[in-house]
């Protein structure tokens, strides 16, 4: 079984079978990231975009970091770019508390993971991105601040806001 590094080298030389192996190894995590950041409606298309971009950029992967780390960074950048594009088209605002209140409480629901995912999806956009990157994906505040072009003080405040909203949701079950 080839390693990611070996498959990346083969893909860089034009081997689509090697690239497919990389896709299958990483698609779940990338799709989860994109879905949580942008929502289910955008997830399929943007996940495809991530892997197409990875194919185009794989020659720049030098193997200093794990391929999964490189791909994840690329996915975050693709998702943030899409967010900016969507932001120019969307012109709506729904108060977070109202949206959370509109969610079905689903007491006794068997799939609490999905319930939590739904609550994340309805967080305010800025808070959601920071929550996903920090608490789900493990990025540090300084990294998130650099990605988003804000201060780490802002990311901390937004993270706390997201957690407080989700905490109220968990408490409502």
């Amino acid at each position: 079984m080839a390693t990611d590094l070996q498959d990346a080298a083969l893909a860089a030389a034009g081997d689509t079978h090697a690239f497919e192996r990389l896709y299958r190894a990483h698609v779940a995590r990338i799709h989860g990231l994109v879905r949580r950041m942008l929502g289910s409606d955008e997830a399929t298309e943007v996940t495809q975009d991530v892997f197409v971009r990875a194919w185009q950029k794989i020659g720049t992967f030098r193997g200093e970091a794990a391929f999964g780390t490189w791909l994840h960074r690329l996915a975050v950048n693709v998702a943030l770019t899409r967010r900016a594009e969507l932001g120019t088209r969307r012109n709506r605002f729904i108060a977070a508390e109202q949206v959370l209140e509109s969610l079905p409480a689903r007491p006794g629901a068997r799939d609490l993971g999905l319930d939590f995912e739904a609550a994340i999806a309805r967080l305010p956009e800025g808070a959601r991105h920071i929550f996903v990157l920090h608490d789900v994906e493990g990025y540090r505040h300084e990294e998130i601040a650099a990605l988003l072009g804000v201060t780490s003080g802002t990311t901390k405040a937004q993270l706390h806001r997201a957690r407080m909203l989700l905490r109220s949701r968990l408490g409502a079950r």
């Binding site: 080298a9 030389a13 194919w55 030098r62 939590f116 905490r167």
Partner: protein, 244 residues
């Protein structure tokens, strides 16, 4: 209203949970939590949120996206060798894949070339030193699909895809050889110097692997060297293509 009771510490509780308060603030909040049931309960709830977030599992998309991805990358596959958009290509200031613009000769400043060469030497030396220093370490058997599987069988041998690498490298070297006269001599010289460095590192890897074919680190190191060579050749041929 989400919180019936808020105080000066409410907005710092996430930082407390994440261990980001300094010692003095943490000490003060520890004392506060002994006295404030609301903040104490909130801390526990925030920890529960964090625990839930960390427990979320990756889920693959409901439909296989590969066919659509493959359809999108297939047209680019044939052009990939001559149009990688790598670091040499970006020096042109033209977007990857651009076939517009007037042909020009390429050159780099000495500090740029020296830095690139030095970096390659350093990377090769360090990684080989690390790899060789790890070789004698004996450990438990590698995990495998069955008890009868040997460690060697679980690791790709040195020639795991040698034919495919060699074919790609041969194609690129042929293109570069046919068109090298179109490149600035200084650029050709540095490309060849770097290729030599990579070849030396590759030879070291192969030699070490001959003694320890199952060494995963050495296999990875070899793959990295071959990938560097392919990448460098692709970028060099991209310059050629841009001039064509």
């Amino acid at each position: 209203m989400m919180d019936a009771i808020r105080d000066a510490w409410t907005d710092r509780l996430s930082e407390y949970v994440d261990g980001e308060l300094d010692a003095a603030e943490r000490g003060a909040l520890d004392v506060h939590l002994q006295l404030c049931e609301n903040c104490s309960a909130t801390v526990e709830e925030l920890r529960a949120v964090l625990e839930r977030a960390r427990a979320l599992e990756a889920r693959a998309p409901e439909t296989d996206l590969w066919p659509a991805i493959e359809a999108r990358i297939a047209p680019a596959r044939k052009a990939r060798v001559l149009d990688p958009g790598g670091w040499l290509g970006r020096r042109s200031g033209r977007p990857a894949g651009s076939d517009t613009g007037r042909a020009r000769r390429w050159s780099f400043t000495f500090p740029q070339l020296a830095a690139a060469a030095a970096l390659l030497v350093m990377l090769s030396s360090v990684t080989m030193w690390v790899a060789l220093s790890r070789r004698p370490v004996a450990g438990p058997p590698l995990p495998g699909p069955s008890a009868t599987t040997t460690a060697a069988a679980l690791v790709q041998p040195a020639g795991f895809a040698a034919a495919r690498y060699d074919a790609a490298i041969a194609d690129l070297e042929r293109v570069l050889k046919e068109h090298r006269s179109e490149l600035d001599p200084a650029t050709v010289r540095i490309i060849e110097q770097n290729l030599l460095i990579i070849d030396q590192a590759t030879a070291q890897s192969r030699k070490a692997l001959a003694a320890d074919p199952a060494n995963r680190y050495l296999n990875g190191h070899l793959a990295a060297q071959l990938m560097r060579k392919i990448s460098l050749l692709r970028q060099a041929t991209a310059i050629v293509a841009a001039h064509g």
